[in-house]
Amino acid sequence: MKEDFLKNWDTQLKKGLLPLFVLQALRNKECYGYELIQELKSAAGIDISEGTIYPLLIRLMKEELLHYKWVEQPSGIPRKYYSISQEGKKCLTEMKKSLETTHSKIRKL
């Protein structure tokens, strides 16, 4: 029962933090969709589905936090590379600050 509760809480937490994870991953290097999913899985242990990541990428682009470009490949099947914008970097800094504030508040309790 407790394990279920913790698992559910952890899932919700990661879901809420997902935009931060995506922005942070793209701050380090530009990625195409499939690569980003693998990056989040290997570096942050987040198993994110395709049905979640693509709508999120669309929303982040609408907010002008991300840019994208199509890059032709020798296979003839181009990749859509996402990268963080200046606005995205500013937003990421603010998100991290907010997270640190929350963390320090928890410690003070």
């Binding site: 195409y32 969709g33 499939y34 690569e35 693998q38 589905s49 395709e50 049905g51 693509y54 709508p55 669309i58 929303r59 609408k62 907010e63 199509w70 296979s75 003839g76 099947i77 181009p78 990749r79 859509k80």
Partner: protein
């Protein structure tokens, strides 16, 4: 869009079927939006297959398609958002009606806009009917009652607007349409859909 080549004919069939469903799910979008969407799906499938060449091709394909989900469901949000973009940038009533159809479950404002759209369609139709049935359509007003629209028992002597009825209906229809588009623009700005 360049299609992915498969060695196995079953894989080819499964893949072609999936792409056909994606095309069907996005057929209401502009050609550019549709192409962009299909390119990204195609790219994702290709990258997954390339990353799993050691295992069975058909099984890999089924796995990645399962992860991508049913096109009719997963592309719904994308199509709904893109339709709103199209409706507010093209000033085409067809796109407005489609945008509202795809977003009707996304909030009470879309229901309100659908009602407004119904009204602007009705006013437009009244203008058309006035031309087809000039005697039966109008704003009839007598001492004891009034009637606006179509009637089977017209009273031409008491019709108030006459020649101006059709142009007035067109103007009201256009104003309601513009109101719908501007409200939709406002929602888009607030929600950043």
């Amino acid at each position: 869009m360049k299609l992915i080549e498969f060695n196995n004919s079953s894989s080819r069939e499964v893949y072609n079927n999936y792409i056909a469903r994606c095309k069907k799910a996005t057929k209401v979008l502009s050609d550019a939006d549709r192409e962009e969407c299909l390119l990204e799906i195609n790219s994702h499938i290709y990258e997954y297959i390339q990353d799993h060449t050691a295992t069975d091709e058909l099984e890999n394909l089924k796995t990645v398609l399962q992860q991508l989900g049913e096109p009719e469901v997963t592309l719904k949000e994308y199509v709904a958002a893109k339709k709103i973009d199209q409706a507010v940038t093209t000033f085409n009533p067809k796109h407005l009606i489609q945008a509202l159809y795809f977003n009707i479950r996304n909030g009470i404002m879309y229901i309100f806009l659908s009602v407004l759209t119904l009204f602007f369609c009705c006013f437009f139709l009244l203008a058309v009917f006035k031309i087809i049935y000039p005697n039966n359509v109008g704003f009839f007003c007598s001492d004891d009652n009034f009637m606006f629209g179509y009637t089977t028992i017209p009273d031409p002597a008491n019709e108030l607007l006459g020649f101006w009825f059709a142009p007035l209906m067109l103007v009201i229809s256009a104003l309601l349409y513009l109101l719908c588009v501007f409200i939709l623009k406002g929602i888009k700005k607030v929600k950043k859909v």
